[in-house]
Symmetry: C2
Subunit: 394 residues, 2 copies
């Protein structure tokens, strides 16, 4: 349309001059309000510029939902925001966001109550199977935040690259399939990745390794837990198979701390058949013998479970699995592993963390369970509820 | 202007029909972009509706700066955002926010390096003097976040009302005078306010009181510390006088944990003159006698400092004040109080929290110092750097 035509039209239909600006107004409203998240706060620079910048940093944030960040109300209702010149004074930029923790309690009916779950994973290796297992979980993703901590090592760099790729794929996908928030931290303290898989379980290096892991878990926990977090699911990076309803199933028990039983699928060398075997021996109940051992130990000594040279005679949940038993059978525990363990956020908020030093002769997740008990919480496990650790190939 | 006049004008100056929508466009741009924070995410309901809603909730958020929340870049640069229909796909709402922790290290030059400081205060009484002291601090407020936890008691309700009023006044004021974020929590666990001021220090109730205080500190800490936090300043609600440069002064020492010396101004009954006296006896170095006492104690017994019936002979920082000494004199400590104590965020992130149970026969802030030492950090105090506790009137 040329200028001449505009002139002509306007001469003929002057009302058009009113319709045009109003139409523009409507279009602009639509553009601004429907796209608010993509228009605000962006510097406009491409990710390519920053892609390798993580060498210099420790922390990444992939937030999605603004639900828990946005103001729900302002101090004063704005009566006429468009043309009032007092708007600046009346609507504070420092608004209130309001966490109604009645809706955010940790209850047996987590999904229905829209309880926010934070899945925390210290990651030294990125397994595709871990990620695809995570993606098949059916708990509403808008209620799920993810947190990772990755050691500052070569294999950590590798894991970070793969994790970033996987994260991007989900977070740029369909809106309803995105996680509420994803935080990736590079480890600040000592690496927990200095040992090869095969030697990782050697007793002599356990203390050092698990102390480093405890620091990593604490860094991750303190950096990601928020006032809106209702549950924390500790899930190790080598857990590659859980029921899709693992969060619903475990929250339904309504326990302060609840550990699933970590098993491993493997191929029997002789028969060539697929079998399962117990994997994580950190889920245990206390025994008199172990308590007596502890009483005679020097302050800085630690008892590790699952080593034949330390016979604690502690009842291990790993051996209590009954293929014919009910999946929701509960058993009381005193020590837990971090394989797949659900914790009410209040337990951590009260101060329960992962001691990297001997705490009642226990460290890391086992020390955490002890600390939670000192804080007055009970610890449970699900012997018949299996999740699977990846098979280690030598 | 009547419709007839519009018609007339448009007939005479058809160009006006183009200027009008463009002008509107400019106005709208200005309105939307200059007011983004006040227009987005607001439900539009008045605070009056919600004012008393805190009875049902535990958490309030008064964020201001979006700096640490906003995306700095998107995955793909949007080439033509206004009319492209592929914008929705290209600009993920789940963007990356990028914490460059190189700028966020805890260093001796905190303000210049723009290090984020989180001031945490458990508050059972709101003192005007506390607030006005806070406001006179000269550390840039855009770098200061505040966190409060208030017990769920009558006096807590009262403190909350006063605190809310004070907070609003600052956060609706001039933009550059607002704090980066203010979080107010209602205590979830047991109240720390069940005791009157006079009986608060009675030895027999100390254990219970300080255990409750430890839980409050942990709740506050876990809910407010973020990946961007560089320093945490624990400041009790009854600290009413600090140097305006307290944050700069204390961060300049570059210590993992650093306690100021808490004194009290009082009027001498006899002479009527203003005097000062030592107030907080929780800042101490370890003594052989105290260690020996601890060794002979049952696991659950606790040593409290500052009671004549427990003679620990620990050197107390409270008595090391030298009016003629340099304000930056440092002394090594083993136990600290929470009066005015600066902590590098990494100490907490590594797991140091406030044990509500006996930890090496210590609890709360003193147990925290012990835990930090177990994590490999050193603890210092500033005997000649005084801050003042409010005078208690009976």
């Amino acid at each position: 349309m040329t200028l001449a035509m505009w002139s002509y039209r306007l001469r003929k239909t002057p009302m058009f001059a009113l319709v045009l600006p109003i139409g523009l107004l409507v279009v602009l409203f639509w553009v601004f309000f429907s796209k608010e998240e993509s228009l605000l706060g962006l510097e406009g620079s491409s990710i390519a510029t920053h892609k390798w910048a993580h060498e210099n940093e420790k922390t990444f944030y992939f937030p999605y939902a603004r639900k828990f960040k946005n103001a729900k109300y302002s101090y004063k209702k704005k009566s006429n925001w468009l043309f009032s010149d007092t708007v600046e004074d009346n609507i504070p930029a420092g608004h209130i966001t309001h966490f109604d923790l009645n809706k955010l309690e940790s209850t047996a009916n987590a999904a229905v109550n829209k309880e926010q779950v934070l899945i925390l994973t210290p990651m030294q290796t990125f397994h595709e199977e871990y990620w695809s297992n995570l993606l098949q979980m059916t708990y509403p993703r808008e209620l799920v935040e993810l947190g990772f901590i990755i050691p500052r090592t070569k294999s950590g760099d590798n894991a970070l690259r793969k994790l970033e790729t996987a994260v991007k794929q989900v977070q740029v996908g369909k809106k309803e399939q995105r996680f509420a928030k994803i935080t990736i931290l590079r480890q600040d303290s000592q690496s927990f990745d200095s040992l090869l898989e095969k030697e990782r379980h050697a007793l002599k290096v356990q203390k050092e390794r698990r102390a480093a892991m405890a620091l990593a878990r604490n860094e991750l926990l303190f950096s990601t837990i928020g006032p809106h977090t209702a549950w924390i699911l500790w899930m190790d990076a080598d857990i590659i198979e859980t029921p899709p309803t693992v969060i619903q199933d475990m929250t339904a028990h309504d326990k302060a701390i609840l550990a699933a039983n970590v098993y491993q699928r493997y191929e029997d060398d002789k028969t060539g058949t697929k079998q399962i075997r117990a994997y994580d021996f950190n889920n245990w109940a206390e025994s008199d013998i172990a308590l007596q051992m502890a009483a005679n130990m020097a302050d800085d000594e630690v008892i590790f479970e699952g080593y034949s040279d330390i016979a604690t005679y502690r009842p291990l949940m790993a051996y209590q699995y009954d293929a014919n038993g009910a999946a929701n059978t509960e058993t009381k525990l005193d020590g837990v592993g971090g394989g797949c363990t659900l914790v009410k956020a209040e337990v951590h908020r009260d101060g329960a963390m992962f001691p990297s030093f001997p705490f009642y002769h226990l460290i890391e997740t086992e020390g955490f369970a002890k600390m939670a008990k000192r804080l007055g919480y009970e610890v449970f496990g699900l012997p018949n509820y299996l999740v699977y650790h990846i098979e280690e190939h030598n």
